[in-house]
Amino acid sequence: MKATMQTEQRPARDVRPTQNYVSPEVNIFETKDGYVLEAEMPGVSKEGLEITLEGNEITIVGHRNNEVVTGTPLFRERALADYRRVFELDPAIDTAKIAAKMDQGVLSLTLPKSERVKPRKIAVD
């Protein structure tokens, strides 16, 4: 069987544009009513936030406000990338009641547990 050679123009590597993200620092607490997640994203305002829920995963993306950088940098420590972090949710969380608040670069996510999962006393007849 004659093997036919097919040559395609194909780049040597996948040339998907990659976006560099920085992971925001978080504090996570659990109370009896649910979870509270605080993520630090300085430079992000409410409009720059993207929170998506897919299945049992929540993805938090914070786009920085495009700051006008005037002048030449003399000293730089800030990572000027957008923020991104993904979390796996406890199935006990009632995803319809998740609330988000943004204040001075800190995102506070409240994730309440669904009612039926909370400890309940059962009366005995």
Binding site: E30, Q104, V106
Partner: protein, 156 residues
């Protein structure tokens, strides 16, 4: 949240993101791409909070930007002394959850201080500071003598 592990205070970790092995490659990539000052900053195990700071310069002003999320304006102190700009303050832990179980505590709380030696003299009375979206923006206008002047070269 069953996949998260209990987390100690940040002072005990040597690496941001330690524990998330699936992101190890990303961490290593970032290690080589991020400026070396970031590495130095995160390896200060016991020095507490060290907020990131940028310093820029153009012909009229110096600009300082400090990342200070979650603070109240009155808790931030900015002072200028003998050519050094000092930014300090305290971030109080707002959280009232005494009965809460902590899963992750990466955020720093408490006092911090950063001091920057300014490369040129600035007009102290014209310094402006603004705190927005967790970033403190300080604009320091240079004194007239410090601005670059064009000098004509005479050929005799």
């Amino acid at each position: 949240m069953n996949s998260l592990t209990r987390w100690q205070r940040p002072e005990l970790s040597t690496w941001p993101g330690f524990g998330r092995l699936t992101d190890l490659r990303d961490e290593i990539d970032r290690l080589f791409e991020s400026p070396l000052t970031e590495l130095a900053r995160t390896s200060n195990l016991l020095s507490g909070w060290n907020p990131a700071l940028d310093l820029y310069e153009d012909k009229d002003n110096l600009y300082v930007k400090v990342e200070l999320p979650g603070m109240k304006r009155e808790d931030i102190d900015v002072s200028l002394h003998e050519g050094s700009l000092s930014i300090s303050g305290e971030r109080k832990s707002e959280q009232k959850h005494e009965d809460a179980e902590v899963y992750r505590a990466e955020r720093f709380f408490g006092r911090f201080q950063r001091t920057v030696t300014l490369p040129t003299p600035v007009a102290a009375d014209k310094v402006k500071a603004q705190y927005k979206d967790g970033i403190l923006n300080i604009t320091l206008p240079k004194t007239e003598e410090a601005k670059p002047k064009h000098i004509d070269v005479n050929v005799s």
